[in-house]
């Protein structure tokens, strides 16, 4: 069988594609990779299509046994990758022989890794996507996290396996801290001037309650002045402020609707940075206009397209 078998799933390993879109009318959230850049590169390095299914691990400690020859790539957090005990580089693809063991250790910097296999993991879609959302018990295998003994079927690789590497200069630095860029919106105008100033002037600490649903922060309280509001749709990166004034950044597995006031939403590129930072990390916010946000997204996309083309050329 063309498959990889989980020997140790680590703390949290999830099968994921780009995410589940267009299903909010059923109450289904998007899920998908917390660090889309690392996800995209993992697939590109093994020659997969952009929506192929990979494994996202949080805090590493994943090991798999290959029951077929295959090509793999690991991207994301700075974690050791070993194939039969021999160290291999991140952000590169590697040949794996049948019978070999792939081990991903604990990250030194960053939290999440993406492991892609040439051909992708063959997983049934649910509501158009393989992305696992634990809260909904949907996607992946059984709607749950990977477990010891799980057999992951490897899809047919579209091309002959060849190894390639991302240029060193393009590898993200997960240790580089920067303010999270926030597009103000939603109930921003309902917060007092003092609250808004305090929010942008203060440092917040990522609390231990930080997961794929959202990151709860601790720091100076930001009272909203709103007593009650009707539940409404929540965008990726929305910063909601419950009654205790402690902001929560809502991420991929957020509920589709909610009734707490929101200051606006963090730029998706910065949600990806945040998702690689762990509890205790100190962060701050800075406001950006929607125009700047769109420009940043276009620039990022242009850079990604260039990198992907470069990797393809390397293959030819």
């Amino acid at each position: 069988m063309n498959q990889l078998v989980i020997e140790n799933p680590g703390l949290l390993s999830l099968l994921t594609d780009q995410g589940r879109f267009g299903k909010a009318h059923l109450g289904l959230t998007t899920g998908g990779p917390m660090d889309p850049f690392a996800f995209n590169l993992a697939n590109a390095l093994v020659g997969n299509s952009s929506n192929a299914t990979v494994i996202e691990t949080t805090l590493g400690n994943l090991s798999l046994k290959a029951e077929c020859d295959c090509i793999i790539a690991v991207t994301g957090a700075v974690s050791p990758v070993n194939i039969d005990g021999a160290g291999h580089a991140l952000w590169q693809s590697h040949q794996v022989k049948r019978g070999q063991t792939i081990e991903l250790g604990q990250p030194g910097q960053g939290l999440r890794n993406y492991l892609a296999v040439g051909g992708g993991f063959n997983v049934e879609t649910e509501f158009g996507s393989t992305s696992t959302v634990l809260r909904e018990s949907i996607g992946g295998l059984r709607g749950g996290k990977l477990q010891q003994g799980d057999k992951l079927a490897v899809g047919q690789s579209a091309e002959s396996a060849r190894c390639r590497a991302l240029p060193e200069s393009a590898i993200p630095d997960y240790g580089a801290m920067h303010p999270l860029r926030l597009i103000t919106g939603y109930q921003y105008q309902d917060f007092t001037d003092t609250s808004r100033q305090r929010f942008f002037a203060s440092e917040y600490k990522i609390s231990p309650q930080a997961d794929r649903m959202g990151y709860r922060l601790s720091g100076p309280a930001i009272p909203s002045g709103l007593n009650s509001m009707l539940s409404e749709g929540i965008a990726l990166g929305a910063v909601q402020v419950p009654a205790d004034g402690q902001p929560i950044v809502l991420l991929n597995d957020r509920q589709t609707i909610g009734g707490y006031p929101k200051l606006g939403s963090v730029l998706s590129l910065d949600c990806a940075s945040l998702a690689q930072w762990g509890p205790g990390t100190r962060i701050s916010f800075k406001p950006v206009s929607i125009e700047l946000a769109h420009n940043l997204l276009h620039l990022h996309q242009a850079r990604l397209t260039r990198l992907l083309r470069q990797l393809e050329r390397e293959h030819d």
């Binding site: 109450g27 919106g185 539940s231 749709g233 965008a235 609707i257 909610g258 939403s265 929607i290």
Partner: protein, 234 residues
């Protein structure tokens, strides 16, 4: 009705506020707008999240931009306001409920607090037609409103660890059927045997935002005959 307002929600999202007060008319306006927004935005649309008084419009910022989307929405809204939205013309979905103390452990307490008999509570819950105002919290969880104010009841101070599939519940003036087991703080008054979220079905949910729901009472035998299962309440 207030003038619609369009606010920024995120890098790829605008939120349209269509009113301040929850009403069946507003719900009808919102559900009438959904297909129009879909048709107008085409493949630049990522998803729509309708709720009580708003629609979150999520678009792909690499395919369009917020100026274009705002313009398209403004145009749609001005056309919509010239039309009289017909709040009577919605789908009516009838759902069976086995009301009892055995299937609804909060029924007696709710009745006592309201100064009513349990029969009164059951009757009042069936009398109204409810709007589906929003779907969220969990897959298939439909927020229905509004219940007669005599049977409105605050959430439990301590939520239950497990509310079973099919539990029919009241919180304030909202009512709902739990689509799957989950923790929950709503007051439980019965069980509905009809699945509210079946991921293997062609249409996974019996209701959509804007539909009307009415409940009707069945007994335990009928509940079991319709495929209902009795799980423990915790």
């Amino acid at each position: 009705m207030m003038t619609p307002r369009i606010d920024i929600a995120g890098e790829g999202a605008l939120i349209v506020y269509l009113g301040d007060q929850v009403s069946p008319k507003l719900a009808a306006t919102i559900s009438a707008l959904l297909p129009q927004i879909k048709a107008t935005l085409g493949d630049a649309l990522v998803d729509l999240v309708p709720s009580y008084n708003s629609i979150l419009v999520q678009y792909q910022p690499l395919k369009t931009d917020h100026f274009a989307v705002r313009f398209q929405l403004t145009q749609l809204l001005s056309q919509q306001l010239n039309q009289q939205s017909d709040s009577g013309n919605t789908r009516l979905v009838k759902l069976p409920v086995w009301y009892s103390e055995e299937s609804g452990p909060d029924l007696t307490r709710l009745a006592d607090n309201a100064g009513l008999s349990t029969d009164n509570v059951i009757e009042l819950h069936q009398q109204s037609q409810y709007r589906v105002y929003a779907i969220g919290f969990a897959p298939g969880f439909a927020y229905l409103g509004e219940v007669d104010e005599r049977i409105a009841a605050p959430r439990l101070a301590t939520p239950r660890k497990k509310v079973p599939t099919g539990a029919v519940a009241i919180a304030d003036r909202q009512t709902a059927v739990y689509p799957a087991p989950s923790p929950g703080g709503w007051n439980l008054i019965g069980l509905c045997p009809h699945p509210m979220f079946d991921k293997s079905a062609q249409s996974p949910m019996p209701v959509a935002v804007g539909d009307t729901v009415q409940f009707y009472a069945i007994d335990k035998d009928e509940f079991l005959r319709l495929g209902g299962k009795v799980e423990a309440f915790r």
